[in-house]
């Protein structure tokens, strides 16, 4: 762990400036990802997990803006890049996989056209060798008969196969980091199992780092090395997956883990977190979870600082779960 991390997100704040007010979609989030490491970024809808991913890739449009913080990728602060520098990084050194593969794929172009385009945008190679790389990428994500599939259009693929093609496009330039935004949420369990299997294999073989954004803790449990939990745009806690799942320190992570049906006695009422996620528009200072938290005290009206309660564990809470 002596080498500097591949990616260091430090105090990231990304706000939307809307007519109704400032929406603090990401508000002071920090984490690091090492080379070859898989980080699970977990949170419910509106927790800012996807916006954190978009911020890393510079995909935030007006009225959204990164207002504070640094995103250091391999020694470069991404928040200061110009458009030309971004073109050299996006799709080349950092790639993204979206929940809906049709966000990546153009419905009127054949698969070979789309993958070759991604290769030629970044490498000065012949069309033939670009096509060979495209073919190899399809093989790596477990697509049978790649030559035939290269000549097909996206609508000729099933949902699971489309997602594999999107992953192949992300992989084709050998990126250092892939950001995956819920890529298996819309898929059936058996297909999800296949995709998780391919991603795990690819990352292990090529040493690609992966940020896997999801609301599903149980996917992270089998896949990731580290986990970072977010709530209402704020960092909640992070640590090794095994440690966080076994001994969550933040009352929110504990509530989330306890509400999973398999952690409960069959047929009995589930542990539930009362209330619902607050609106990000009206969110004042202090811990955003305090309204739903059983441990909350008047002190929680102030924002807790991030502490390191154990080696490798980081936490933002005054009242950690004992």
């Amino acid at each position: 762990m002596s080498a500097p991390p591949l990616l260091q997100v430090d105090g990231l704040r990304m706000h939307f400036f809307t007519k109704a007010g400032v929406v603090k979609a990401v508000d002071d989030v920090s984490f690091t990802v090492d080379r070859g490491e898989i980080l699970g970024l977990v949170g419910e809808s509106g927790s800012g997990k996807s916006m954190t991913g978009y911020s890393i890739l510079g995909l935030v449009d007006a009225p959204g803006r990164i207002v504070d913080g640094r995103i250091v990728f391999d020694g470069t602060d991404l928040t200061r890049l110009d458009a030309a520098a971004w073109r050299r990084i996006r799709g080349n050194r950092i790639a993204m996989i979206f929940q809906d593969p049709m966000m990546t794929l153009n419905p009127v172009l054949r698969i070979d056209t789309q993958i070759v385009e991604a290769v030629l945008a970044h490498a000065d190679v012949s069309r033939e060798s670009a096509l060979a790389r495209a073919r190899e990428a399809l093989v790596r994500v477990g697509i049978a008969s790649p030559d035939e599939r290269l000549r097909a259009y996206p609508h000729q693929f099933s949902g699971g196969m489309r997602q594999r093609v999107a992953i192949a496009i992300a992989l084709v330039n050998g990126p250092d980091l892939i950001i995956a935004d819920e890529p298996t949420t819309a898929l059936d369990v058996t297909i999800q199992g296949q995709i998780l299997f391919e991603m795990q294999k690819v990352c292990r073989e090529s040493g690609t780092a992966l940020i896997w954004i999801t609301h599903d803790l149980s996917v992270i449990a089998g896949l990731a090395d580290e986990v970072c939990v977010m709530y209402a745009g704020r960092f909640v806690e992070s640590g090794r997956v095994a440690d966080v799942l076994e001994r969550p320190l933040h009352p929110y992570s504990r509530g989330l883990i306890d509400s999973v049906p398999s952690r409960n006695e069959r047929g009995r009422p589930l542990h539930q977190i009362p209330g619902m996620t607050p609106s990000l528009l009206s969110l004042g200072p202090g811990c955003p979870f305090r309204e739903r938290c059983s441990e909350a005290t008047p002190r929680c009206a102030e924002s807790p600082a991030i502490t390191e309660p154990a080696p490798g564990r980081r936490l933002r809470c005054f009242h950690p779960v004992p």
Binding site: G193, D225, Q272, T277
Partner: protein, 338 residues
């Protein structure tokens, strides 16, 4: 041969239900067909000879991947669709016996809760109308008492009755789910078909809505057909689990039995794929292939192209669903080979 329920006379019984959907040919395809060139209409075999019985007060979980026919089955139970073949029985009499106005209460006894809490509510109707329309139309509640009645139903599902005049877009996903449940409850049903009723919800909200289902069952003695792709949810809620694959039931047993001793290779594969919360990094060992198109299902056992144990017999002959242990049904040729 039907799945054994806990009570001698099941509340609901399906016998040999099949459902086909045929696409209507457009004019060009009709001319082509007349000239002998094009293919005939395409037919999807959504359900193929499904037998199912549900006892009063029982919770049956119906599990399968997309395209397996589980939603079609739910809609047939709820009278939204008519089966192509087969018989539906309610309290040991065919559905057709309940067509008279006098049997209205029995007809209303099966209600449906839909998956998408956004698409299943009319965005232009206030909640008081969404919930109150059906009971007034069916004469359960006089129109002048509607608002009081709606308030009562809303409180039953944990909604603040003062929000009745609002529109669906003013509610969160979890609240909309509760509105969908309240709409179903408003006509005093005994049987709820819940089609992926918690699939669209966040984990913490999902737990709240599942708890509501558990509480309503205890309070009103409801029976559920709980359709879901999420085995964790089904395991938690169901007394009995029914697994479907490509329009057929492949396994049916007591919930604990299915999870302890899955018999059918497809069930075993599904159970292996459930992501677990155990924090051990595991190697995913996926089952091969994808669910085949229901337009052209494979012959014999539908699962044989993906099955690690497939034998020549599996391609030729569809296995019958038969009892392999008391109350445990499975459709697999492996059970015949000693």
């Amino acid at each position: 041969m039907s799945a054994a329920g806990p009570s001698p006379v099941p509340l609901l019984e399906l016998r040999g239900i099949s459902k086909q959907f045929s696409s209507r040919l457009d004019i060009a395809a009709r001319i082509a067909a007349r000239l002998g060139a094009g293919a005939g209409p395409q037919t999807v075999h959504a359900l193929d000879g499904v037998d199912l019985s549900v006892g009063a007060g029982e919770v049956v979980g119906l599990v399968g991947e997309s395209g397996c026919g589980k939603s079609t089955l739910g809609r047939i139970v709820a009278r939204i669709l008519e089966p192509s073949r087969g018989e539906r029985r309610w309290k040991d009499r065919p559905y057709s016996d309940y067509e008279s106005p006098a049997s209205r209460a029995e007809r209303l006894a099966v209600q449906m809760v839909f998956q998408d809490p956004f698409a299943s509510l009319n965005p232009r109707m206030r909640i008081v109308d969404v919930i109150g329309e059906a009971p007034v139309v069916h004469g359960l509640v006089p129109a002048r008492e509607r608002d009081r009645y709606v308030a009562e139903v809303m409180e039953r599902v944990g909604l603040d009755a003062s929000l009745a005049k609002r529109f669906p877009h003013q509610f969160s996903g979890g609240q909309r789910s509760r509105i969908g449940i309240a709409r179903a409850l408003a006509v005093n049903p005994r049987f709820l078909v819940c089609d992926e009723a918690v699939a669209a919800l966040d984990v913490s909200i999902q737990a709240q809505v599942l708890n509501l289902f558990i509480r309503l069952r205890e309070e009103f003695g409801l029976t559920y057909l709980f359709i879901s792709h999420d085995l964790g949810v089904v395991r938690h809620l169901s007394d009995r689990v029914v697994i479907m694959y490509l329009g057929r039931i492949v396994e049916s047993a007591d919930s604990q039995e299915v999870f302890a001793r899955p018999n059918h290779p497809y069930t075993q594969a599904l159970l292996a794929e459930i992501p677990r919360l155990e924090a051990t990094k595991r190697a995913y060992i996926p089952i091969k292939g994808e669910i085949p198109s229901p337009l052209a299902p494979p012959g014999g056992c539908h699962f044989h192209p993906r099955c690690p144990h497939a034998m020549p017999r599996c391609q030729a002959e569809a296995p019958r669903l038969r009892e392999i242990a008391p109350g445990h049904l499975s459709a697999c040729h492996l059970n015949d080979t000693p």
